[in-house]
Amino acid sequence: MAKIKAGVATSHVPAIGAAIDNGLTQNDYWKPLFDGYEYAKEWIKIQKPDVVLLVYNDHATAFDSNLVPTFAIATGEEFKPADEGWGPRPVPNVQGHPEFASHIAQSVIQDDFDLTVVNTLDVDHGLTVPLSLMFGQPENWPCKVIPIAVNVVLYPTPSGQRCYNLGKALRKAVESFDENLNVQIWGTGGMSHQLQGPRAGLINKEFDNAFLDDIVNDPENLALKPHLDYINLAGSEGIELIMWLIMRGALNDNVDVKQRFYHVPASNTAVGHLVLENK
């Protein structure tokens, strides 16, 4: 059967993608950030996942104001990098896994999580920056990817508890798929950042580090954190962190922390990164 063996959490700041695409990863500004991902890049070469369930949010790219699914799963064959206003990123197309994605959709929907099913989906930096951070610049991405999109743009977003529970439903869905697949789940976005208004630039290192502790050791309580705490203390865009709870919910209660990294800033944002293996 298919099995989730590990989870990865990472921020997905667009400027990180631009730094990779423009060959700036070793300059004074960016090198400290990319050094924090060296472990994961080596680790994933050994892990060789067949499929990544990649939890991310669309940033008014594929979903505009006409259609805002709270949760969506992409069941298409292939997803193109989106033109977000400055041309598409020069990265490979993302290969989906339609059969596995459809199985997951059926399982979680029957388990009371009403995911919107999407076929054609251009994927923005929220999905492609984590791939670049983990895999560098290959000619083709070395695994299949099932995009799972979460609305964190139009308030209210789903609750932390809902996200954590969805993670558990995803795990059950994965484990009921007959093919032997090595599966990872990635939670992306965050950490503290605010991109708008007079308070833009807010960074909360204390909040972020407590979150990095709790997502590993106390996710049940972390899932209870109200929206207002994220917005008030981690910035209006810090709410993206709820997506990490989906990743965590899909893992075992006990996990090994293989890597933990925190860095400020990447453009406007605090960057957090975890590599977690099921015990």
């Binding site: 667009p14 139009l154 308030y155 208004g197 308070r199 807010l202 008030n232 209006s236 406007n268």
Partner: protein
């Protein structure tokens, strides 16, 4: 009974909720149109004429032409939609964010390098308030 919206009181912050989305629908959809290169060209050639093709309020159009992002947000714009405008202008997210803070781009960049804006009692809601 009205829905409680405590997030409205977070200092210096506009939360894009369903009411704001309704107010900003056409403004945000105009922004989405800039994801296509030919539309970007058309907008650059004559901003007012391009904006007049959208059923937006005059205040929304004026805020766009002034690149006043705080004003655009007060009229229902959301930052990820508005990003299509400053991306079309070739301006980075950090530079655009700085224009909303009353700081120069250099001051803002320096603040971020120094660890960002520190949360304190002036910029966060306090538990006992």
């Amino acid at each position: 009974m009205a829905i409680d919206k405590p997030y409205k009181n977070v200092p210096g912050t506009t939360i894009f909720d369903a009411d704001m989305a309704r107010l900003g629908f056409h403004l945000n959809q105009f922004c989405m149109s800039l994801m296509k290169a030919p539309n970007r060209e058309k907008f650059k050639q004559n901003e007012k004429a391009y904006l007049d093709e959208w059923p937006m309020s005059e205040a929304q159009k004026e805020a766009v032409m002034a690149r006043d992002y705080n004003q655009m947000m007060s009229h229902g714009g959301n930052i990820y939609f508005l990003a299509k405008i400053f991306s079309s202008d070739g301006i980075s997210f950090q530079a655009a964010a700085s224009t909303m803070t009353g700081m120069t781009q250099e001051e803002y960049a320096q603040m971020m390098l120094s660890g960002g804006r520190v949360p304190d009692s002036s910029n966060t809601l306090q538990k006992d308030s």
